[in-house]
Amino acid sequence: MLIGSLDIFCEIIDNYGDIGVVYRLAKEMKKIHGDEVKIRVVLNRLDEFLKINKKAKNIECQEIDDIIYMTEDFLAKNVCTFSPANVIIEAFGCNVLGEYLEKAKEQSSILINLEYLSGEEWIEDVHLMESQMGAPKLKKYFFMPGFTEKTGGVIVDSLFLERKNKVLSNKEIYLEKYLKGLDYKDMLLGTVFSYEKNFFPLVDALINNGKQNCLLILGEKSQISFLELFKKIDVVKLDDETYNIKNITIKFMPFLEQEEYEELINIVDYNFVRGEDSFIRALLTGKPFVWHIYLQEELAHMDKIEGFIDRFKEVLKKEDIDFLEEYTKLLKDYNFRESNSFEIGSENFNDFFKNFEEIKKFSEKYSEFIISKCNLIDKLNRFILKY
């Protein structure tokens, strides 16, 4: 089936992950289909979108790079004049406006419930399963992102891959762009984008890793976490954004747009990431990473972490990797807590830096697997076109 038009609905709960995925999806679909497909994105609020896209304005309906972005309120006020798209995506189980949906039942062809990413095995069983609606024309399917070929995959956008190649081919230019004023040569460079956390174990491991280190701290919660830590250890403040602890230079970064963030994570040596979208970008860089998952009640997030680790090992287990147990233990320990706080956790980063080159080698390999076998947009596009 040809995609004549595409409406993507997203209810942003908090942070930048939800809009990050949807923004990326919309841009990539536009890139694939060009003028043949009219794309509209309906958002419940604009705050996060305004931050990740400098072209966005705080208005109810706007066109950016040939994609229309509108608020739910705008749609509700104008729904009587709207024709639903023939393909509709409701991201992360959000509810589509009732009046719009009633029209869609008569006029549209496919409604896809694009869910959150998970590595758990049962995801494969329900991926592309129909959710019967009893509509004359419209069919609804669940699309389950995951880390295996039998799932919906993850968003591997060509724009990211192009940017990655461009940045790696011109690394010096980009290092100068983001680290101007720092003596970054011969430094081990890492980014930290997290929720609230006590980073003493990380700093302690860096002090002992025998290298000159530079940590680039992104996002308010990460920066607050480091400021809390600075109250308890000896820190030299170099300027408003830069601090020094022994062999570690710590730089607080300004808020970066999505594209800038992608440039940065491709020029550094490792990335600490949070949520879903930046986690996937970290995987695609092929660099060592540590994932701070979005915490859930009753430690439900640990099921996701363990699901991912199981899938990660499935791909890499053919190799004899003795460090994998230590590395995956770090991923679990880093996330094993009931709430985000400044309490110290049990994570130990020493093995991460000791095995850094090996982890890097297998991160590159995993990245190749994800890019070739788990491309969500490619899978989604093929599913719709075959329909």
Partner: protein, 187 residues
């Protein structure tokens, strides 16, 4: 209207213009994903059986079909035979009509048979049943958190997850909507 999560095997719903009976209901939830209900459903007009999935909070148009109290008697190979305790009429259902009820069916069990246009089409289980555990690995009596689970087989052969402290031969209360352990009981 009901939330999808409130429906269970034996519930009847209208989807579009067609009536369906839910034969199996399975709940799935992980992290931020929507909680999901996976159903095996039978279309009561054409008898077709299909699988379908819903968000747990999707609104479903539940319909009230005729139900009569019944007691399970026996299986004659082709049919599961129930009797109406008031009229002593025999009611026959095939295994595909029973869905999740097969997990808990035992002689003398009281439940409700669902009728669509005078034809029995399904059974609806009580929300809770009490069953004895016939096998489970020895557990840890000290673990009373109930968070760590293990497999246990009940007297109908069905396996469910129970906390580590639950022992073989004990009786437990089970929620038939989710097939989940509720509590230990004394009998």
């Amino acid at each position: 209207m009901k939330n999808a999560q409130e429906l269970r095997a034996g519930s009847t719903v209208r989807i579009g213009n067609e009536p369906y009976v839910i034969l199996k209901a399975e709940y799935n939830k992980s992290g931020r994903n929507s909680a999901m209900m996976k159903y095996k459903m039978k279309n009561l007009l054409n008898g077709n059986i299909s699988d379908s999935i819903y968000k747990a909070d999707d609104k479903m148009d539940d319909i009230r079909l005729d139900k009569v109290k019944a007691v399970y008697s026996y299986n004659d190979g082709d049919f599961y035979v129930f009797s109406n305790p008031e009229t002593w009429d025999q009611i026959e259902l095939k295994d595909e009509d029973l869905g999740d009820a097969l997990n808990y069916l035992e002689e003398g069990m009281e439940l409700e048979v669902v009728y669509y246009e005078s034809t029995p089409v399904a059974v609806e289980l009580p929300t809770f049943v009490e069953r004895q555990i016939t096998y489970t690995e020895p557990g840890l009596r000290g673990d009373t958190s109930g968070k760590v689970m293990k497999s246990a087989k009940i007297n109908t052969g069905f396996e469910i997850q129970v906390p580590l402290f639950v022992e073989q031969d004990e009786w437990i209360k089970i929620d038939t909507r989710s097939n989940e352990y509720v509590e230990r009981i004394k009998r």
